[in-house]
């Protein structure tokens, strides 16, 4: 009984691997901003069936322009089914129930983990390239990103200066974040990590001042709007401590998802360090 069942499962697995895995997916649906961007970077235009509605928001999506050509989805099961996907790529934030339901219905769903460093970005790019049968394109993308980062790294001064990502409401990026790695690669020290912040967390204003950062960075994604949270970035002490140097805005779209666009952010951070 047991044996026959396992044989059945094995056969089913082989069958699905043959019909789905070996063939190049031509109707790929992405339900998450992070997979949207990787898909748009790596797929041939004919492979993409749909991307999520966030993919066209220029503040959060690096590939907003390219995303406009494709139908948008809201990660609802019903609308996904009507798209007749042969591969669904989802992110760690996609609802578990949605993923499970799609899998039960026989669809192939690949869930991409979140990224908190450049090595994980590479892994995600390679994973997507492999799924799309676009390995050469994936390698090219990774190599270009690495080349840009190492060029920048060679140019920045050795002495690291204290800096901080300061977001509305006093949020910051500590250890194990892309921001932390990017700062350290570009000749900055991350005051938040040194203060003991792990991941994304709050740092109080007094601790910020005591660390005497020479430069603040921010990724405010509500530009042009007003709130108490955003007013916190206007605190006069923040300007005084850096000798009047204005806070530099490094686009939200480079960080919200880990991807090769991290190279753009790193170049921007390095440029300010080299000034």
């Amino acid at each position: 009984m047991m044996l026959s069942r396992s044989i059945l499962i094995l056969l089913l697995a082989l069958f699905s691997a043959n019909t789905l895995g070996a063939k190049k997916p031509m109707r790929v649906v992405s339900t998450n901003l992070c997979t949207d961007q990787l898909l748009l970077m790596l797929a041939e235009p004919g492979q993409i069936a749909s991307v999520s509605h966030l993919a066209v928001e220029p503040e959060s999506s690096y590939m907003a322009e390219q995303a406009k050509r494709y139908p948008l989805n809201h990660a609802e099961v019903e609308e996904l089914l009507t798209l007749k996907p042969d591969l669904i790529v989802a992110g760690a934030f996609t609802k578990k129930a949605t993923v499970n339901l799609l899998r039960e219905l026989g669809y192939r769903v690949e869930v991409f983990p979140l990224t908190s460093n450049i090595a994980e970005i590479k892994r995600n790019v390679e994973h997507m390239a492999q799924l799309l049968e676009q390995r050469a394109k994936g390698d090219e993308l990774v190599q270009e990103m690495e080349k840009r980062i190492s060029t920048v790294q060679a140019e920045v001064p050795n002495r690291a200066l204290p800096s901080l990502f300061y977001q509305p409401r006093g949020y910051t990026s500590g250890r194990n974040t892309l921001h932390d790695e990017a700062l350290i690669l570009t000749g900055w020290r991350n005051v938040a990590s040194e203060h003991g912040v792990n991941g994304y967390g709050v740092i109080d204003l007094e601790s910020v001042l005591l660390a005497e950062p020479v430069q603040f960075f921010t990724s405010d994604y509500g530009q042009g709007s007003d709130s108490l949270a955003q007013r916190q970035l206007q605190h006069p002490a923040l300007r005084l401590i850096t000798g009047g140097k204005p806070m530099v805005n490094v686009g939200f779209r480079y960080w919200i998802c880990g991807g090769p666009m991290i190279a753009d952010a790193i170049e921007q951070l390095a440029e300010i360090r080299n000034r």
């Binding site: 509305p168 409401r169 006093g170 709050v202 109080d204 204003l205 007094e206 601790s207 001042l209 005591l210 005497e212 994604y221 509500g222 042009g224 709007s225 007003d226 709130s227 108490l228 949270a229 955003q230 916190q232 206007q234 605190h235 006069p236 002490a237 005084l240 401590i241």
Partner: protein
């Protein structure tokens, strides 16, 4: 008026009382300067802040801790004073900016201005929004409850207007263009004096001072009002003018304070009650005493939340409500007993 000033057992000399409360407020401001997330040598910081070039220590003292202490002191004084004014004017022991809707009205006005882009164009837009909101809500409650409203009617009208203001604040914050707005409902409803700069203090100050100035000199009229409106009128007091002047004063002061701190509850209710026996139940003498008492209460609450061993700081309004709500219930029980 000497017949009215027969001394009660707990009554104190007014000058003495003011001096003591003043000393308390000053000490609390100083204590407040010593408390922060990091221990810093405050005296050294003070010395350095007298120099021309700002140092880190002087910045923490003058740009972070000082505005917090000053905002707490002035916002607390506003709430204490306005509580005393309202209880005197409406001759209702449960009247206060929080219960009569002035605070939540002010918060609504400030929210309408701040989140829809008017706050950055003109510095006074924010307190003006708060003032209009406070005035509107107070007048609405006053009209709803009627002139000689019973305690219950006034409270019910206040509850209705408070709920309406809360609903409108939530609605506005949901519609606001800023992605951060929705999470700030709590800040407006409970109030906080944390993470402000001296800019906010200067924005709040004119309205608070102007409001207090409008109240000054009306003590005698409030004393007379305790004898009933007719008697007060026969004593030459223009009740209509008094009412408008005091409503305006409350709107100016509460509107400015709340537009910076959010609606901090119960200070305006508790403080006048605690201090009333000490001034021989004279509404006029209660005014300056309540202002100092309110400042002391809010400073104490703000010091307490900073000493509280919680991971993230709780809002100061949480503490004033935790102290104030049981007190409110006690007052209700007391008035019920008095009515029996």
């Amino acid at each position: 008026m000497s017949t009215l000033t027969a001394k009660t057992a707990s009554e104190m000399n007014q000058g003495m009382l003011l001096a003591l409360l003043g000393l308390l407020v000053v000490s609390l401001v100083v204590i407040s300067l010593f408390i922060g997330s990091n221990p810093i040598p405050v005296f050294q910081a003070l010395q350095e802040s007298l120099d021309d070039t700002p140092t880190v220590l002087s910045m923490i003292l003058t740009e972070v801790r000082l505005p917090r202490a000053l905002i707490a002191a002035f916002a607390g004084a506003t709430l204490g004073l306005c509580g005393a004014v309202m209880q005197g004017l409406l001759r209702n022991p449960l009247a206060s900016p929080g219960l009569v809707g002035s605070s939540s009205g002010a918060a609504f006005g400030a929210v309408a201005v701040l989140y829809f882009g008017l706050g950055t164009t003109f510095w006074a837009a924010l307190p003006l929004g708060g003032m209009l909101g406070a005035l509107g809500a107070t007048l609405l409650v006053y009209l709803l409850a009627g002139r000689d409203a019973s305690i219950v009617t006034l409270i019910l009208a206040g509850v209705a207007i408070n709920s309406l203001a809360l609903a409108l604040i939530s609605l506005l914050l949901n519609l606001a263009p800023s992605p951060y707005a929705v999470r700030e409902i709590v800040l407006w409803m409970l109030g906080s004096v944390a993470s402000h700069s001296m800019n906010e203090f200067w924005i709040m100050l004119p309205g608070v001072l102007l409001g207090s100035l409008l109240v000054t000199g009306n003590g005698r009229a409030l004393n007379a009002l305790t004898l009933g409106e007719d008697t007060a009128r026969s004593m030459g007091i223009n009740i209509v003018r008094l009412r408008w002047q005091l409503f305006l004063a409350v709107a100016l002061a509460v509107g400015s304070a709340v537009s910076i701190t959010g609606a901090i509850g119960f200070v305006g209710l508790v403080i006048p009650h605690l201090l009333r026996p000490l001034v021989g139940y004279m509404p006029g003498r209660l005014l300056p005493v309540s202002a100092l008492g309110g400042a002391a209460m809010l400073l104490m609450a703000d010091i307490a939340i900073r000493l509280f061993p919680a991971g993230t700081e709780i809002k100061v309004g949480v503490l004033t409500a935790l102290v104030g709500a049981p007190f409110f219930l006690y007052l209700i029980l007391k008035t019920r007993r008095a009515q029996l």
